[in-house]
Symmetry: C2
């Protein structure tokens, strides 16, 4: 794909809006489509063409980016539904299908095979960084699939953030799952260390400050750790989502005959929080669960 070739963008949610806007502002000809057309029309003032349907957005584009809610929604857009042929049938030969939604690894692998069978290139390239990352072009993009396509798409990805190719189709989603596992387990770890410190008479907030810059330091310690000590469980990332991701990781591990002991234990903590109706709290609420299990007040 030559630089500044046309991009089709499907799925104009909070993040998709900023991603499509940044591409248009960088000089890419962008055609956008969204199931609810109204959300897409705000892109017109950035020079984005609003497509009539997903197939229309795909035609003539070197890359089609899909940023819809989940795996089934991406399948519907790609393979079509009643009365809609889907983008796969509409794409130019040799064009690249880029699914940036967070989808199951198996969904990504199947989409990758279908794209190949249709003479297309494929990348699953989920992101982290949230709305600020999408707005400022500082997202982390984890890409699996065709390595040549990944190289060719650098001008596109670089507008949105920092991208890394991690393996074949599906491994972008897998890398994001690894990300979520580390986040959840580290929150639990920080909760245990801070509870120990607090119970022994240390000021846990001062302990967080003391550990800053050392081997024990992390964004989780500074962000989630400080907020749990302060009793702030406003999301951020919700327990229900953390449970879903952790469960997916443990199930995938089991499919590979793997036991991940700490991850399984952390899954139990999130299961318990969701069962208690705390699924909408920030995932740093394992602090509350750890205190509850130890018979301590939970604020």
């Amino acid at each position: 794909m030559a630089e500044k070739s046309a991009v089709g963008f499907i799925g104009i949610g909070i993040m998709g809006f900023h991603m499509a806007r940044r591409l248009a502002e960088a000089g890419f000809p962008v055609s956008a489509w969204n199931r609810t057309r109204k959300k897409a029309t705000a892109l017109e003032r950035f020079g984005v063409r609003i497509a009539d349907d997903a197939s229309d957005a795909a035609k003539g584009a070197g890359a089609i980016i899909v940023m819809v809610s989940d795996g089934p929604a991406s399948d519907a857009v790609i393979f079509g539904t009643e009365g809609d042929d889907g983008v796969l049938a509409a794409m130019d030969d040799g064009a690249t299908l880029v699914v940036m939604s967070s989808i199951p690894m198996a969904t990504a692998a199947a989409q990758g095979r279908a794209a190949k069978d249709n003479g297309l290139r494929y990348l699953d390239a989920p992101v982290s960084g949230g709305e600020p990352g999408a707005r400022d072009g500082t997202m982390t993009i984890m890409a699996g699939g065709d390595q040549d396509a990944f190289q060719d798409l650098q001008p596109v990805f670089s507008v949105m953030g920092r991208s890394t190719h991690v393996g074949p189709a599906g491994t972008g989603s897998l890398a994001k799952l690894a990300n979520q596992v580390i986040v959840g387990n580290t929150i639990q770890t920080v909760a245990e260390a801070l509870l120990l410190a607090q119970s022994g008479g240390a000021d846990p907030d001062a302990v967080i400050t003391a550990l800053q810059g050392g081997f024990a330091d992390s964004p989780i310690l500074q962000n989630h750790g400080r907020r749990m000590i302060a009793g702030n469980f406003e999301p951020g990332g919700r327990c229900a989502i953390q449970l879903k991701d952790t469960r997916t990781a443990v199930e995938l591990a089991h499919a590979h005959d793997l036991e991940l002991p700490v991850t399984s234990l952390v899954q139990q903590a999130y299961e318990s929080l969701v069962e208690q109706g705390r699924g909408d709290l920030d995932h740093n609420a394992v602090w509350l669960e750890l205190r509850r299990r130890n018979g301590l007040e939970t604020d």
Copy 2:
């Protein structure tokens, strides 16, 4: 304590040497003593006076820093042994005893009480950062004890690194224990996430690169994670030490009627490694243990 008042320094090991050297180079009058005198004499060319015994190093000093191997060694220096009265008896009224060795919390608390009973001030101020931190003055200093003494000692601490006061005597050691808990648990967490990624066909080294700068990132991911993937288990921090610290943390938690589920699980991993004779490997060897438990090759 006024700036540049005399400092007694007891325990000239690898780290103590650099700490005493930096103090002398910063203009503090330093008297050093080491059980093996020869190790201390190399400090003379930096203007350090070599004391005849621990009491001699303590006399006339505003602060006495103890940097010996462990809790019992610090007790011996402070309270004396056969034929040696110890520094407590030799210190000037109102001087500050600063134990920078890593010692048990209960040892620090008892030393703090004894110091107070003798009209002295006390800080337990263990460090992290290893030899490079001691050499370059970039150590993390976690201090428990008399807050006024901590403030007065800022000119001394700032020569050695960044210091934070975290609570009463003993909590410096407790903060260091929290540090070790986070390090050990995070290594296990990183091992589980990378094994999941690798088993699903992702390049684990590329996954580490992909996660750089995001919420899942940490010095442990970048350092211990990369080395475990490369099959590099050269210490660094040894499994035997990580087991000792993790066991101490779990026992302390039990003394407070606390269960720390992930920390206890990580303790089991290090128990197993030490039982297998792998105690001298780097603590990132939980990667090997995780693979072994899952019936995979262990390189």
